[in-house]
């Protein structure tokens, strides 16, 4: 598989809010993290990819085919467990086997065991973490080649999150598999992702290989006078306080060349997100 996801000019117009145009590519064997503030358009983008909402313009291909034809090879994990609380855990396997053509009952049972999910317990009696694990088990049990997760780790404790992230890493060991995950928890994405796409107000603001971005971007603590000397072309955002300023630059090497007296530190995905969103505020 060359490209698990490919979008060209994907747009969704809701009137007051417009997503896109989004040009996105996810190669096989990799994980793409989608970050952005609430309402940035992460869920809308995922829903456009899966055909849950209809794009206003542009094209989306999943696994090299138009999205609607590729859904059999896609495992979807929404932010809430979609299975009725009145049913028992094992019953989900019973009906999902008729929903997904590639359903593997033995694999589902294996995941239930691996995730410690009691088959006889009602779904409404499961914790949020267990419900999420059940949804992930269901997504993996029909042997997808592409996993799409919308805020799947939100509200989970670090132990459960770590367990789930390990599962995704194991999933992409196969070069034919890929994962798209949206999350607010940027530390998780730093651990997990090969690529990062940052959505801000419906548009892609930052995009690229995660290691390259973290290597290229830098955070500077300086005075107002020093801040004025930074090339505006590389200044992503700044925050001015009573005792000094902080700035995020998009090119550490360029900053070192232009302002050799400034100490520039490595930044995190959270820094990129905060400075891009709130960086203009003083």
């Amino acid at each position: 598989m060359n490209r698990a996801i490919e979008t060209v000019g994907l747009t969704k117009d809701y009137g007051p809010f417009t997503l896109g145009p989004i040009d996105l590519t996810l190669p096989g064997g990799t994980i793409l993290g989608l970050i952005g503030e609430n309402g940035a358009g992460k869920s809308t983008l995922i829903k456009c990819l899966l055909g849950i909402v209809r794009p206003s313009a542009g094209q989306a291909k999943l696994l090299g085919r138009p999205a609607a034809e590729a859904l059999g090879g896609v495992g979807y994990v929404p932010d809430e467990c979609p299975f009725p609380g009145a049913l028992k855990v094992r019953q989900t396997g019973g009906f999902l086997s008729g929903v997904f053509p590639g359903w593997d009952g033995a694999l589902f049972a294996e995941y239930l065991k691996k995730f410690d999910l009691p088959g006889e317990r009602k779904i409404k009696d499961l914790s949020r973490g267990m419900k999420m694990k059940l949804t992930i088990a269901a997504a993996l049990a029909h042997r997808p080649r592409l996993l799409i997760l919308d805020e799947a780790t939100a509200g989970l404790d670090p132990v459960v999150r770590d367990e789930i992230l390990d599962e995704f890493l194991a999933f992409v060991e196969d070069e034919d598999h890929a994962v798209l995950i949206s999350s607010h928890i940027t530390s998780d994405l730093e651990k997990l992702c090969d690529y990062v796409t940052y959505l801000h107000q419906g548009r892609i603001t930052v995009q690229g290989p995660k290691d390259e971005l973290l290597e290229r971007y830098g955070k500077v603590a300086c005075t107002r006078e020093q801040l004025g000397r930074i090339d505006p072309a590389i200044l992503v955002g700044r925050r001015e306080g009573e005792y000094g300023c902080q700035a995020l630059v998009s090119d550490r090497a360029a900053l070192r060349r232009g302002c050799p007296d400034l100490a520039v530190d490595r930044c995190t995905l959270e820094d990129i997100m905060i400075f891009t969103t709130r960086g203009e505020r003083k």
Partner: protein, 205 residues
């Protein structure tokens, strides 16, 4: 479609014992008293279908199902098939109870009469379901209830006006008219089904 049908059936089974007790009680009342079971059966059948939509919304199931291969179409087809099965089972129950509740002296004629009752029940149920399903698919359960009240009120008005017009012209109720109700119901379902499919094809979640 099989998976969606299984899910709906699993959800009905959650309250199956209560339903069976309720139906048994209603049947006994109908057999041994003058109690008419028809309204009871129609309400039971329709509430069953409405409950399934409530489950769908509570778990945002439709959005999830829309991301499954041919999910939109399959969930509509399954809901229609299940509605027909529930309606069919209730119609049979209506026929059996109608026959059992007839006085012994009229048992021979009661068979035919209860079949007519079953036809009317089936027809009314199909008409109602044919309206309910696309309305719920289009508007969801909360808004759908409001729209439904308006639609049912309008349909009832039309039915009363039609009955009054027939009466004025001296038309009597024949067995054929019962059959007509059933055929009308079946025709309404045949129209309703593609409408629901079209609604779900366009719907965004």
């Amino acid at each position: 479609m099989r998976g969606f049908l299984r899910r709906d059936w699993a959800l009905i089974r959650v309250n199956l014992w209560f339903y069976l007790l309720f139906l048994a009680g209603a049947c006994l009342l109908a057999v041994f008293t003058d109690f008419s079971i028809s309204i009871c059966l129609i309400l039971f059948s329709v509430i069953n279908v409405m409950n399934l939509f409530a489950y769908d919304e509570a778990n945002q199931w439709m959005g999830y199902a829309a991301a499954a291969p041919k999910g939109r179409r399959a969930m509509v087809d399954a809901r229609y098939l299940l509605s027909l099965c529930v309606g069919g089972a209730m119609a049979v129950l209506q026929i059996v109870v109608g026959w059992l509740s007839a006085p012994a002296i009229l048992q021979a004629a009661a068979g035919w009469l209860s079949v007519l009752q079953g036809m009317v029940f089936g027809g009314i149920y199909l008409l109602y379901t044919a309206v309910v399903l696309p309305v719920f698919y289009r508007f969801g359960i909360a808004k759908g209830r409001m729209v439904l009240i308006l639609v049912i009120a309008a349909l009832s008005g039309v039915a009363v006006a039609a009955a009054s017009a027939l009466e004025d012209q001296g038309v009597r109720v024949y067995g054929g008219l019962f059959l007509l109700v059933l055929l009308l119901g079946a025709a309404a379902m045949l129209v309703s089904w593609p409408i629901s499919r079209a609604v779900m094809k366009k719907k965004e979640f």
